[in-house]
């Protein structure tokens, strides 16, 4: 089973996780930029974070045989802090980078006017740079937030929009919109493998993305594998599993994660003595 996790915050995870993920079949990940446990207070804090997502984290992942790609953005929660909004002026130069495959996570947290401004500005940047967008839907007032999200993203082709953190209540409206549907599988909250399989049985495997969204909270980067196994147990074929866990994320982000990186062979492993 080959797995491309389209949403996981590896910066928060240990090398043990990388080893376990590789053992479970994970060969590629997208790490979207998001908030941390502790709120940031200045633009420089974002730039160091972005640089880590473009430098250290891909290097770390490559040492475990995993291709690390990223999505960059000002997240909705910190878009509400005027000290952080200046990062929007720095983002365009970052969107040129080779391993940046999307703008994200953008969207709503508390649905404020400041979140609207950051959301709109970054949708425009995505259009200008010809990148897809990864849109976070709010945990509080999710159905209303998802409806409003679908209204705001109408300026982009639906095939370039991933609406994430969906559940039984919000999947229908996103299926109707033509946007990609993202599901985060968590130990306690969000979705679990059994409910995910039920949604796949009802809505099919097209435009469906399953992620672990593992971060600094209680979460598990192997939940993607658990969904693959639950799908097989429920009668889905190996091809169905490959579509959901590998081909769908590759298609949405427009990358072949198994291909060599142009101009950069990530020689971190091979440069070593005896390596």
């Amino acid at each position: 089973m080959r797995i491309f996790d389209p949403h996981v915050h590896m910066t928060s995870r240990t090398t043990d996780d990388y080893e376990r993920m590789h053992g479970a079949g994970v060969r590629a990940v997208v790490e979207p930029a998001f908030w941390l446990g502790q709120p940031r207070t200045n633009v420089g804090s974002f730039l160091d974070y972005f640089d880590a997502l473009l430098g250290w984290e891909p290097y770390r992942a490559a040492q475990h045989g995993i291709r690390h790609l990223c999505a960059l953005a000002l997240n909705p929660k910190e878009a509400n802090d005027p000290r952080c909004v200046g990062v929007l002026g720095e983002l365009p130069r970052y969107l040129l980078k080779e391993s940046v495959v999307a703008v994200g996570e953008i969207g709503y947290d508390s649905m404020t006017p400041a979140e609207d401004r950051a959301f709109e500005a970054q949708l425009a940047m995505a259009a200008e740079h010809d990148l897809p967008v990864l849109v976070h839907t709010p945990h509080r007032d999710k159905a209303a937030g998802t409806r409003r999200t679908l209204d705001v993203v109408k300026g982009l082709p639906p095939g370039r929009v991933l609406v994430d953190h969906l559940n039984e209540v919000t999947v229908g409206m996103v299926a109707d919109s033509g946007c990609w549907m993202g599901f985060s599988i968590y130990p306690d909250t969000k979705m679990d493998p059994g409910r995910m399989v039920a949604i796949l049985q009802e809505y099919g495997t097209e435009r469906m993305l399953v992620n672990s969204a593992a971060d600094w909270g209680r979460s598990d980067p192997l939940r993607t594998r658990a969904v693959g196994e639950a799908m097989l147990a429920a009668g889905f074929t190996e091809d169905d599993v490959d579509r959901v866990l590998w081909r769908n994320p590759s298609a949405f982000y427009g990358v072949d994660p198994a291909a060599p990186v142009p101009g950069d062979d990530y020689a971190g492993n091979t440069i070593r003595r005896g390596g």
């Binding site: 430098g55 130069r93 980078k97 080779e98 101009g263 020689a267 971190g268 440069i271 003595r273 005896g274």
Partner: protein, 162 residues
């Protein structure tokens, strides 16, 4: 030189500020040698800015090109920055011919020892025969002692220098 690179070089020659837009996409659009081609047509301040704004691949391209650019010791801070990273590619590139020329004795010795710790083969380090001195020999011997005390092997490329 392919068409994309030739056009990009022409743009940078006319206005080197365009390098900030072209350099990040150059490997994708123009192939493996495109970044180096652009670096040949920008000043030292722009080289430094491209490094500091670069991802790991861009920084590596700058470090690899330094020896062929006429920068004097202006790019020493970039070499020092790369030596502070934990990325073996960047550390090895920092100790290329340019770094071997501009680093002072203390920084060069620390760089060599860092390579040993990161398992970067010493044959990758430029200038080692010319810059090898008793102090570096002492540092490598102390490293070997520490390895042996822990019951570990000493790499052959270290043994042959002490």
């Amino acid at each position: 030189m392919d068409d994309w690179t030739a056009e990009a070089v022409a743009q940078v020659k006319a206005d080197q500020q365009t390098a900030h837009r072209l350099f990040p996409v150059a490997a994708r659009r123009g192939g493996p040698s495109a970044r180096a081609a652009l670096l040949g047509h920008v000043d030292a301040a722009t080289v430094a800015a491209l490094y500091r704004n670069g991802d790991a691949g861009e920084r590596l391209a700058v470090l690899d090109a330094l020896d062929r650019l006429d920068l004097g010791d202006a790019a020493l801070p970039l070499v020092e920055d790369a030596l502070r990273t934990n990325d073996a590619r960047l550390v090895a590139a920092a100790l290329g011919p340019y770094g071997a020329r501009v680093l002072d004795d203390h920084a060069y010795r620390q760089g060599v020892l860092k390579c040993v710790f990161m398992a970067i083969p010493l044959e990758r380090v430029a200038g080692l025969d010319e810059r090898f001195d008793p102090e570096l020999a002492r540092m490598l011997a102390a490293y070997a002692d520490e390895r042996r005390a822990a019951g570990r092997t000493v790499p052959p490329d270290v043994l042959e220098r002490i």
